[in-house]
């Protein structure tokens, strides 16, 4: 029989250290639902999602109960709606409402894919979809939206960056009565991946099968607890501990993913090797960095510590799973991480440090509340900066900022649940990037050799 200490270790990880499967996400292609009649297309979308994912929640719960591991979210990602909606040319919000109906019927937490991929330019349907995002996110509750505005191969579409600054602001304004929650469901990507199981950026890429199961694991608390047992080890030893822990966490994801795939008769896609924090105490990526020896997350040394953590998680996880993909890395969403919230509140963690951190980890400026007076062009400039980091370093970066309408730096936005609470962070509002953003056009793709 299995060693009793191993059994106790697993049980302890689940009961004391918040180990869980963050999400089982079913990707569903909607390409065959496109129709010149929008109503017909919406009916096809609803029917296909319900047919494919009707048993997703039930199956997830059965696996959670049999294996004794919590599965926090059951989600769906779909083909970017701009592609499906283009066939009818009708108001894309109709499609968002159809997705919401499907979310209600299947009981999933979120459907992601109210998306457009415009890294080189807008095709039919893209601009209409982007302009409809504020309304779509305000009339739905469980729909997530993402827009890819740049890539290493295509450069950065600055027309889209300019537009997205306005869209993020409008989304905040239209949902201002609900703590600007719309912006928590909207992410702007550079180098978006096609098999991401995590929200708000999940969509089902066109290179994916008709339907597929992806799994996202979590477990910052487990890594922190493991590091706590080695208070005086050198960084090489810490990297080893992180690798070993990540291996164990990922094996859980692999097991749950393959079991869900078997029971639902849907191919298994990938495990996303991520450390995804929650606002719960003992489930924080910032606290891992502090366990490594930083007095607080955000101080000098944070980028180096995070780089090591991120790399060790990948090294440990890669061997534990047959297919690794998605965003794979440590997440640093400010409002969803108790340690980040504390560091942002105390002023030790600033936006500029977060930006540097995103160069070495997954995935970007995530869940950051910014002052309500931040103009659309400043938001566009934040997006451009972040996209440039992703473009040049051939990695995914993203921006999910929440302009807190009517509030100032130092106040807080309360989202509740997994989205947590966001201390409003300082943004440089004294000098304007307006002229740079207004130039629009496209930043050419970067050179991929001569790497010094």
């Amino acid at each position: 029989m299995i060693n009793i200490n191993d059994i106790m270790e697993t049980i302890n990880m689940i009961s004391e250290e918040n180990l869980d499967i963050r999400t089982v996400t079913m990707g569903i292609s909607l390409l065959d639902c496109a129709d010149s009649d929008a109503k017909k297309a919406c009916d096809k979308i609803y029917d296909k999602i319900c047919r494919k994912a009707g048993k997703l929640v039930e199956t997830g719960e059965a696996i959670a109960s049999e294996y004794g591991i919590p599965i926090i979210n059951k989600r769906i990602s779909v083909t970017p709606i701009s592609m499906v909606a283009a066939a009818s040319g009708a108001d894309p919000v109709l499609y968002a409402k159809a997705l919401q109906r499907a979310a209600d019927s299947t009981g999933v937490n979120f459907i992601g894919g109210y998306s457009a991929l415009v890294h080189k330019g807008f095709s039919a349907g893209d601009e209409a979809l982007i302009r409809s995002i504020p309304e779509a996110l305000s009339v739905t509750n469980n729909i997530c939206s993402s827009v890819n505005i740049g890539s290493t191969k295509a450069g950065i579409n600055m027309d889209a960056v300019k537009l997205m600054g306005q869209i993020v602001r409008e989304t905040a304004e239209i949902t201002a009565d609900r703590d600007c929650i719309g912006c928590a469901k909207l992410v702007v990507f550079c180098n978006a991946v096609e098999d991401n199981p995590f929200m708000a950026g999940a969509f089902h890429g066109v290179g994916e099968p008709d339907s597929v199961i992806h799994v996202g694991v979590s477990g910052p608390g487990v890594v922190q607890a493991a590091l706590k047992k080695c208070p005086n080890g050198d960084l090489g030893e810490l990297a080893e501990i992180i690798k070993r822990t990540a291996f164990k966490i990922t094996r859980m994801g692999q097991l749950v993913g393959s079991e869900a795939s078997k029971r639902l008769d849907v191919p298994f896609g990938i495990v996303d090797l991520s450390l995804a924090p929650t606002p719960a105490v003992g489930d924080s990526v910032a606290h891992i960095l502090e366990e490594m020896g930083l007095e607080t997350c955000g101080t000098h040394g944070t980028t180096a510590a995070l780089a090591m953590l991120n790399d060790a998680v990948k090294k440990g996880g890669v061997m534990a799973s047959s297919y690794v993909g998605g965003l794979s890395g440590a997440f640093i969403p400010v409002s969803e991480d108790a340690g980040m919230i504390a560091a942002a509140k105390s002023g030790d963690l600033e936006l500029s440090k977060l930006e540097a951190m995103t160069a070495v980890c997954s995935v970007g400026l995530d869940m950051i509340a910014i002052p309500g007076e931040t103009s659309a062009e400043v938001i566009s400039a934040i997006i451009a900066d972040e996209a440039a980091i992703g473009m040049v370093n051939s990695k995914t970066t993203a921006v999910r900022v929440i302009p807190a309408i009517g509030k100032k730096a130092g106040e807080t936005l309360e989202f509740g649940g997994l989205l947590g609470s966001g201390p409003i962070m300082k943004v440089n509002l004294t000098k304007s990037p307006k002229k740079f953003i207004d130039r629009a056009g496209r930043i050419p793709a970067p050179l991929q050799s001569l790497k010094n």
Partner: protein, 89 residues
């Protein structure tokens, strides 16, 4: 399928008897059993074969969890594979 029934808590008379009587009631076969004291806690782990049980997995699991609540013990029923996959390559 085989499950691991784990019991953690303060030692007292008759724990194993109560857990195994649920196995008996449900027609679950006890394949292996081991116990130990870890950090002052009584820990008992039982490997059970439940392919022929006369109730659903959920009912079997609920009976164990209810016993745990009554006796102030942490009792869990988990599929064997979760431990195999985590601790064996």
């Amino acid at each position: 399928m085989r499950t691991i029934v784990s019991v953690i808590g303060k030692d007292s008379v008759g724990i194993i008897s109560k857990v195994s009587s649920i196995c008996n009631d449900c027609n679950a076969n006890i394949v292996d059993i081991t116990q130990s004291v870890l950090q002052d806690m009584f820990v008992m782990v039982m490997l059970t074969e439940i392919k022929d049980i006369n109730c659903s997995f959920a009912e079997f699991s609920d009976k164990m969890v209810d016993l745990g609540k009554k006796e102030n013990l942490d009792i869990r029923v988990m599929h064997e594979d979760i431990f195999n996959s985590m601790h064996r390559i």
